[in-house]
């Protein structure tokens, strides 16, 4: 698909643009939250036990309902808003955060029925959620993220630091 990835920490935010025209600014504000390549869940050996979109007593991401072009009724997310919690079979629990401000459009229900999808195709069918930032904030969000290249440099630094 036509996307440009801008990894953020251990999460990858894919912002839609149209690659055929090599236009570097993304016009279409839609963002897809996925796991970035260095996320622990993507390391081999990890099996996902469960994925839970119920992030608090009052809030389930599955209850999110949007209507109309402006996506009224959407749960509003800030950078640290949890999207879901994932438990692995080795007892670890990971919280997946939104990373960006915006309206929650949808969470991926396919990974509920098929958790392996998250690990097999993290950047496509295993996505976590779709978020639509505010028009005015769209550009600043892009700037706050790392490009693929920058991310790889970060990973390199991490590896060098730990070795």
């Amino acid at each position: 698909a036509d996307v440009k990835g801008r990894p953020c920490e251990d999460f990858c935010v894919l912002q839609h643009s149209n690659r055929r025209h090599n236009i570097s600014i993304s016009f279409f504000r839609i963002c897809v939250i996925t796991l970035a390549e260095a996320h622990p869940l993507l390391r081999s050996g990890k099996t996902i036990k469960s994925i839970n979109y119920q992030i608090s007593a009052n809030c389930s991401r599955l209850q999110n309902k949007v209507s109309g072009k402006s996506k009224r009724g959407a749960q509003f997310l800030t950078e640290l808003a949890p999207l879901c919690r994932i438990s692995s079979s080795d007892g670890e629990e990971y919280t997946i955060y939104s990373c960006i401000r915006g309206r929650l459009i949808e969470v991926n229900e396919n990974i509920l029925s098929n958790p392996a999808l998250l690990q097999e195709k993290p950047s496509t069918e295993g996505y976590i959620a779709v978020v639509l930032p505010k028009f005015e904030e769209s550009k600043s969000i892009t700037q706050g993220l790392l490009t693929q290249k920058e991310y790889e440099e970060v990973l390199l630094k991490r590896r060098n630091a730990s070795s």
Binding site: A1, D2, N18, I23, I30, T124, Y127, L132
Partner: protein, 533 residues
């Protein structure tokens, strides 16, 4: 004049005394003879004065009881009036005059009418007609008939009401009755007078259904405040205006006049209405032609052309567009103010439209030129085709507004066929893709594609792929021809859109697939009619 009978005398007397013009007087006397109104103002004035001056020769009680049937063309198609006509009127018992019987001579002459504010006076004259026609001719429109529409200031209705109440009161005092409904409407009388003059000067007939509209807006700022009292009397008729424009619209004023009680009206408004100092102003004389519609089918051969101009933040991101390439020539030829482009569906910037092309229609707004022969349309089509190799048009023709419905129905109901160049990650052999050929009526569930989700509501669409036919190219490429239901997102069917379109080519072939090229092979709508090009 014969169309006035004795029962009209008090009305004529009163109105003449209070500053009402001859034609308005005729209106209040329910005179329905159109030609009479066309007589020169001076002649009508003289006739009325003669009518009043005439002394009754014999009592004619019958005359009093005869009620003039409304709008009846009373044997008065002649052009000259002589004293002999006046003697036909029967006598009437002496009616006490409101003022000096002969004071009427001076009252109305030369003043601006207190009811029509000059509309039935100066604005019926040849000078005004010339002014209108000059405007029309300089605007350089093509037309075969015209409709003349007039916008009158709302205070005219108020003054009309006041004058009528005055007349009614007078008649009551004399023990006579007067029916309001038979009074000739001001606009109607005005059109009786001005239509023939305009038609003569412009050389085409007046026709209520004409697409060519000449409109005049009249205003009378001097009396603009006269409607104000209605707002206090009937506040619910006047809603606060959304724009800065006046709350006192014609409709609102009419409504209030219907509601308000006679006594309340008379409390706030002088009866008879006062004589204004000035005439109305003719604010704007405008011409407008009804829209014409041009339809055709277009082919798109560029993979770099949007259908409509692509402008973000005031900056054009891609040069030109399908609609601009087609309408540029049409706008120039038809000399229109603007256009509205619509088509039976549309394709992405990077998708070609082949085959017979996609039906489209362009509404040309306020065109100066409207008559085009089939030959001229053909030449216009050729000109468009010569000007660009990115698009080509065919079957270019004039159509009616109602025909557009056929095109839009095509958008939702008719099938389309496509050709897609597909890439796969894992290798494919010929036998791996033959299964696609056997799949018929494949049902898809397509969530709103991510690439349009910012401007469309989130929904799931069920669409059908009717048939598919594959052409093997190499281990990672093949071409797929598909026939699909209208509204199917083809690209998403190929790459799966993050798994949000199911099933998809990837899931059917158990690989990751992506689309490299897409062409529309046909849009299966049989409109507009094919021409022998």
């Amino acid at each position: 004049m014969s169309s006035l009978t004795e029962k009209d005398r008090p009305v004529v007397q009163l109105l003449l005394n209070t500053g009402t013009c001859p034609r308005c007087i005729l209106r209040f006397c329910c005179v329905g003879s159109q030609t009479l109104y066309r007589h020169p103002d001076k002649d009508l004035m003289k006739d009325l004065q003669d009518f009043l001056k005439k002394t009754q020769e014999k009592e004619d009680a019958v005359c009093l009881d005869v009620v003039d049937p409304p709008r009846k063309r009373i044997r008065l198609e002649h052009t000259e009036e002589g004293p002999e006509d006046l003697s036909h009127n029967g006598a009437l018992s002496q009616i006490p005059s409101v003022t000096d019987g002969n004071a009427a001579v001076g009252s109305s002459a030369g003043k601006v009418c207190n009811v029509c504010l000059g509309i039935l006076q100066e604005f019926c004259e040849a000078d005004f007609v010339k002014k209108v026609c000059q405007k029309v001719n300089s605007a350089d429109y093509q037309f075969t008939s015209f409709v003349f529409s007039v916008s009158l200031p709302p205070q005219l209705s108020v003054r009309e009401r006041a004058a009528w109440l005055g007349v009614k009161q007078q008649m009551r005092n004399l023990g006579l009755s007067l029916a309001k409904d038979d009074i000739v409407q001001l606009k109607e009388a005005y059109k009786w007078i001005i239509h023939p003059q305009l038609a003569e000067e412009l050389g085409v007939p007046a026709d209520g259904k004409s697409l060519f509209e000449v409109s005049v807006v009249f205003a009378h700022p001097e009396t603009d405040e006269e409607c104000r009292f209605l707002a206090t009397a009937c506040p619910d008729c006047f809603k606060p205006a959304k724009n800065k424009q006046s709350v006192f619209t014609r409709m609102a004023v009419m409504k209030a006049l219907e509601k308000i009680k006679e006594e309340d009206f008379l409390k706030h408004f002088p009866c008879p209405p006062s004589s204004p100092k000035n005439l109305c102003d003719a604010l704007e004389i405008q011409c407008n032609n009804g829209a014409v519609f041009v339809a055709g089918r277009y082919n798109k051969y560029s993979r770099n052309l949007p259908q409509t101009p692509w402008i973000i933040d005031g900056e054009r991101k891609l040069e030109s567009s399908v609609e601009e390439l087609i309408s540029e020539h049409l706008m120039a030829e038809f000399k229109a103010d603007s256009f509205n482009f619509s088509s039976s569906g549309r394709e992405d910037v990077d998708v070609r439209t082949l085959g017979n092309g996609r039906p489209f229609a362009i509404e040309l707004v306020n065109p100066r030129r409207i008559h085009f022969t089939a030959e001229e349309m053909k030449r216009l089509q050729q000109a468009i085709n010569n000007s660009s190799d990115k698009i080509q048009v065919r079957d270019l023709q004039l159509v009616t507004r109602s025909a557009i419905g056929r095109m839009k129905e095509g958008e939702e109901e008719k099938t389309k066929t496509y050709s897609a160049l597909i890439w796969t990650d894992r290798a494919i052999q010929r036998e791996d893709i033959t299964l696609l050929d056997d799949i018929k009526e494949l049902k898809l569930d397509q969530k709103t594609p991510l690439r349009v989700l910012h401007r469309r509501p989130l929904a799931v669409r069920c669409r059908v792929i009717h048939t598919m036919s594959s052409e093997y190219i190499d281990e990672h490429h093949f071409r797929l021809h598909l026939k699909t239901q209208a509204g199917t997102y083809i690209k998403e069917f190929v790459h799966g859109d993050f798994g949000r379109t199911k099933p998809n080519i990837g899931s059917l072939l158990n690989r990751t697939a992506d689309i490299l090229e897409l062409d529309v092979e046909s849009v299966d709508v049989d409109w507009p009619p094919t021409l022998d090009n």
